[in-house]
């Protein structure tokens, strides 16, 4: 009887002891012992479009300098800037330039930053090779893919187009490509496209679908089109200044709008100069930019744009 009560008292006692121990444990995680190589922490957050690139940089850097502890998040361009201007992150990924109101918040917090372009993201609208359509205006894209669209035949878009039923293919709603199309190209308030299309997260399925279906059209990242030019025809886009064919050049010089956009990383200047780990990560990122862009399936920067980025990077060093 007596022994039992002792044991019974032990159990809750141990729970309390465990709590007390937990209060003592934990604590120093920030201070790594100084080694010969660079060590420290880097916090990256922002656009989910740029995320694969920043993760690739993180991974390749980890092989060289494992003591640089990088974390990469994907809370979106807006969410990224919010954390960046609150001094919570060192680097912010962005699929658009920083907005004036975001810049104002950064300025108020006394955060100076530098914008580095890292790649170009381009969508390509493709059609089946046999279809006699070569160019769409932006209005026609919106009419075809808008959330309320009921367009079922190419003739409905333009009387000169063939009398052919339209079969639509596109990425699923989870993908960044979809978000780009819905929010930036179509720009409907709901940030959606029409939903009655064949969707797949696997771009190869889309390529096969459009390539093998009469009257089919779809959209996906430019690099997938580049790999499949033999089965697909890319549509030129007319945004007011005539039809522009998609290519790495037109995407980078800005004429292939609105289906191409630059991708950026924003670097906190003070963190770059004070924290060797941030500098190591950013330097590595820019040095290996073309390999990294390839992993993310984006268009690598042209030589001209790359040297601009390098100049901007030099400018951070105070």
């Amino acid at each position: 009887m007596n022994r039992t009560s002792v044991r019974r008292a032990l159990v809750p006692g141990m729970a309390v002891l465990a709590l007390a121990l937990s209060a003592c444990g934990g604590g120093d995680a920030g201070s790594d012992g100084g080694g010969d190589s660079v060590s420290g922490k880097v916090a990256v957050d922002g656009s989910s479009t740029v995320y694969p690139m920043s993760v690739a940089a993180q991974e390749l850097l980890a092989e060289e300098s494992p003591k640089v502890k990088v974390t990469v998040g994907e809370s979106g361009t807006g969410g990224g800037f919010e954390a960046f201007c609150a001094d919570k992150t060192d680097i912010s990924d962005a699929s658009r330039p920083i907005k004036d109101e975001e810049a104002a918040i950064c300025e108020e917090a006394g955060i100076e930053y530098t914008e580095l372009q890292v790649a170009t993201d381009a969508l390509t609208m493709v059609v089946n090779k046999d279809l006699d359509v070569d160019c769409l205006t932006v209005d026609q894209i919106i009419k075809l893919w808008g959330p309320d669209s009921k367009v079922k035949n190419w003739k409905e878009l333009d009387p000169s187009f063939p009398d052919q039923e339209i079969k639509l293919f596109g990425p699923g709603t989870d993908s960044g490509t979809y978000d780009y199309m819905a929010a930036d190209v179509i720009g409907a308030e709901s940030e959606t496209t029409r939903s009655d299309y064949e969707s797949s997260e696997d771009d190869n399925v889309l390529v096969q679908g459009v390539g093998g279906t009469e009257g089919a059209t779809g959209y996906f990242g430019y690099t997938y089109y580049e790999e499949n030019t033999d089965t697909l025809k890319a549509l030129a886009i007319d945004s007011g200044d005539g039809c522009v064919e998609p290519s790495a050049e037109t995407a980078q010089d800005g004429s292939y709008t609105p289906l191409a956009r630059p991708l950026f990383v924003y670097v906190n200047n003070a963190k770059y100069n004070d924290n060797k780990a941030v500098a190591a990560y950013v330097d590595f990122y820019i040095e290996n930019l073309s390999d990294i862009a390839e992993v993310g399936k984006f268009i690598p920067l042209s030589d001209e744009l790359y040297s601009e980025t390098q100049t901007a990077l030099e400018g951070i060093k105070g």
Partner: protein, 302 residues
């Protein structure tokens, strides 16, 4: 466990084994409907698990557990950071939530005056809190971290606070049930021998209720380990390539990695995500098995 379920079970057993005198059409139809509901629920679950297991089958290898995530080599990507992160989160979630939850439940059950309006208010709110969406607890944890003066939230501490808040109502409610199930005779016996209310609670009531408390706690933890939404809100990073070293260490969690990879355009990464779902499932089933074991091993009947 409770009287109601036991009675219902006995009645159903009587009907299904044909021992019931009540063999009219209505009760047979009702029994059929019950069987169908059970069959439907189990089948959906089974199809889902088998489908996921088949998709993930090519990646059931040790690299899945020991490698960090890789986008450069998607065929050998792993979930080491997520698995370790989730384990650390569970440890600290339990350390925060269990003592608080048990203390709150003991107060409400043994000490609080149930006639007072504030105690009744707390009681109603507890029931409501258990039904609050998980993401709200993420927001709450961000606020708590800000009040405590932390600038970085994507760390073990932030995630553990969110998950502890999330499972606190569950722990309080199950602990109260377990404490309530301890027969009144034991308390009265202890009090009659001259023990104070505190001594009675600490030495008699609480130890007798431990199996029920442990079961509830582990079931709460197995809910927490599968949560992704509150951790996203807290700001846990999606990609971490190092092991956690302490409560202030940046981490990621297994459900977050799975969420991020299931919609990836690379097939290899989606396959790995399916395999990781099975790993998460095994972790949860392991916790549940532990709960069942503790309940069976230590359960008392009076």
């Amino acid at each position: 466990m409770s009287v109601a379920t036991t009675t219902a079970r006995e009645v159903t057993r009587a009907i299904s084994s044909g021992r019931s005198k009540d063999k009219n059409v209505g009760s047979l139809v009702f029994l059929g409907a019950l069987w169908f509901s059970l069959f439907f629920g189990v089948m959906v679950l089974l199809v889902l698990i088998v489908d996921t297991a088949v998709k993930g089958a090519p990646r059931f290898d040790s690299e899945l557990l020991t490698n960090y995530g890789s986008i450069v080599r998607p065929e050998s990507t792993g979930f080491r950071a997520g698995i370790l992160g989730s384990l650390w989160l569970m440890l600290f979630t339990a350390l925060f939530a269990v003592p608080l939850g048990i203390a709150a439940a003991l107060y409400l059950e043994e000490f609080a005056d149930k006639e007072r309006w504030w105690n009744r208010l707390i009681e109603v709110n507890l029931q409501n809190l258990a039904a609050v969406p998980a993401i709200v607890y993420g927001l709450l944890a961000v606020a708590v971290m800000a009040l405590m003066g932390f600038n970085t939230t994507g760390i073990v501490l932030g995630g553990a606070i969110a998950l502890a808040l999330l499972i606190l109502p569950v722990i309080i409610i199950t602990t109260r049930e377990a404490v309530r199930a301890v027969p009144q005779d034991i308390r009265q016996g202890s009090l009659a021998l001259g023990a104070t209310v505190w001594q009675t609670t600490w030495r008699q009531t609480l130890p007798s209720a431990i199996p029920g408390i442990a079961t509830g706690t582990i079931l709460g933890l197995s809910r927490a380990i599968g949560e992704a939404a509150p951790l996203v809100v807290v700001g846990l990073a999606g990609s971490v390539l190092f092991d956690p070293t302490g409560v202030m260490s940046e981490i990621t969690a297994l459900p977050m990695q799975i969420y991020s990879l299931t919609s990836n355009s690379q097939e290899d990464l989606r396959t790995a995500a399916s395999a990781a779902i099975i790993v998460l499932l095994i972790m949860i089933l392991g916790l549940n098995a532990l709960a069942i074991f503790i309940r069976n091993k230590f359960q008392k009947t009076w």
